[in-house]
């Protein structure tokens, strides 16, 4: 997708895709059949720049035909380079400007509580996104409103747009910050399906899962490289990347 579109954020997509795979494989109770149900779990993908990951996962899970992905960033296509909701079941919110998903998720989680529903709200965020003030406003509010049905999963790949997070606006001690806002915090390997799915179970207050990930995961020449935050893969890059991913799967 990112190769044919020549519009990317491929590194960000590869770091978060395992998190999405776990969420849509049962941790979040939402399927194509229940994507309009008022009692569905809500997954908000706040790091809208990694759109290709969410679009691909939703297609593979049957929310819409895989063939539609050919319209990614194409003239007249349905899939913008940042998340757009139009005509796409499963996409709860258009994102691309950071810091919108968590406060929106507050509202959805609050609506679920008000209705007495047992549904949950999951917000997938980037670590760079925690520079945004709304993250911390919302962290305060989630505790105040007692949102024990709200879960944030942070794709902690440690790289933001121009360089490493700790060299830009340092987030550490990151887990302590969330704890100080009265959230439960669980730190896991963000590429381990088992650790992620275990961490997503059981919570008695707002829960923050810090998913330690690798930007560009699975493609050696992309891993932990700031360059691959945005760079679209060339034909040669694509071939090399696919070869690596295939050999890893065999």
């Amino acid at each position: 997708m990112t190769h044919s579109a020549q519009s990317s954020h491929v590194g960000s997509a590869l770091s978060v895709v395992d998190i999405l795979a776990v969420l849509y494989s049962g941790s979040a109770k939402v399927t194509p059949e229940t994507s309009d149900s008022p009692d569905r779990d809500c997954v908000i993908f706040s790091k809208g720049h990694a759109a290709s990951a969410l679009y691909a996962v939703l297609a593979l899970k049957g929310f819409y035909p895989l063939s539609l992905l050919e319209g990614f960033c194409a003239d007249g296509g349905q899939f913008g380079g940042h998340i757009t909701h139009h005509g796409k079941p499963g996409v709860e919110l258009s994102t691309g400007s950071l810091g919108h998903g968590l406060p929106y998720g507050l509202g959805v989680a609050l609506s679920q509580k008000k209705r007495g529903s047992s549904a949950r709200t999951f917000v997938v965020m980037s670590d760079g996104e925690c520079d945004e003030g709304t993250t911390w406003e919302s962290a305060l509010l989630a505790h105040q409103f007692g949102l024990d049905n709200l879960t944030v999963i942070i794709d902690r790949n440690r790289i933001q747009s121009l360089t490493f997070t700790e060299d830009t606006v340092a987030l550490e001690p990151f887990a302590d910050k969330w704890r100080a806002f009265n959230w439960s915090v669980r730190t896991v390997d963000g590429h381990s399906y088992e650790e992620l799915s275990d961490a997503l179970e059981n919570q008695d207050r707002p829960l923050c899962i810090i998913a330690e990930t690798t930007k560009g995961k699975g493609v050696s020449f992309m891993e932990n490289k700031v360059l691959w935050h945005y760079r679209p893969p060339s034909s040669q890059d694509l071939e090399a990347a696919l070869l690596e991913l295939k050999s890893a799967n065999t």
């Binding site: 919110l93 258009s94 919108h100 406060p103 929106y104 509202g107 959805v108 406003e137 919302s138 305060l140």
Partner: protein, 303 residues
Amino acid sequence: MRNSFAKHLLEIAQKDESVLLITGDLGYGVLDEFQKQLPKQYINSGVAEQSMMSMAAGLASRGYRPFVYSIANFPTFRCLEQIRNDVCYMKNPVTVVAVGAGLGYGVHGYTHHAVEDIAIMRAMPNMQIYSPADSIETNYCVDLILANQSPAYLRLGKGGEPLINSKPLGAEPANVIIDQGPDGVICWTGGIGAKALSASGLLKEIGINPTLISVPVLSEKTISQLLETADGRKILSLEEHTLAGGFGSWILEVAADKGYSGQIARLGVTRETNTQIGTQNYLLEYSGLSPEAISSKFQELLN
């Protein structure tokens, strides 16, 4: 206007539990009764307007009808991208309630004034704009808002605006014709209507009888209707808002599109007004929006 809004919303919310009132930690004394009677439908989200607005959008996405209440500059300029992306683009039926719009918070200074809000809100996709002149128009606008599933902007005065209407209004969005004189048209949106009526009194004393039109619902359609009513006559528009992109500007655009034949003049808040300190009345007078200045401007236009 804000008190009648709070009272009317309470009456509606008592019958409809999807109606929520969210405040950004403002409304002391105004929202107390709502909070007391319907604590489950009242949310104080603190001094965090951006998160408040996105949260309201999230609630609206699940069937609630949140009214987000604050002093006019806060639930607008402070959280514009949240309004643009999460409310308007997503078509979530949040109502932004801007209290004391225009110069309503007079002596509190420019940081608490909202004189660019109409220009900004009319540029937002799917946003419907309501700007009542008195408490009767306020109730009318609230009912129109709830009859539609759309993002809405409700621009209210701070309080104490005199009534310019004498009877309840209908259930369709329309302009309100207050008087049908033959000598040109004075039209306005919002609480400035009271000044227009005073100006009209002065004009009548010298034998000039304008048609007076209040425009509580701002849309392409109501402004087209305004021009149809004016029917080629000269028009003076009034607004407690900057002339850039506001009510008068909107009239000029529609008039140009339609090839309107009559002359149009506008009065609004001048740019220099933000250098001044004073009450709402003082600031309006400074901007040339006193009854005397409106009357003079209209006479100038007719001549």
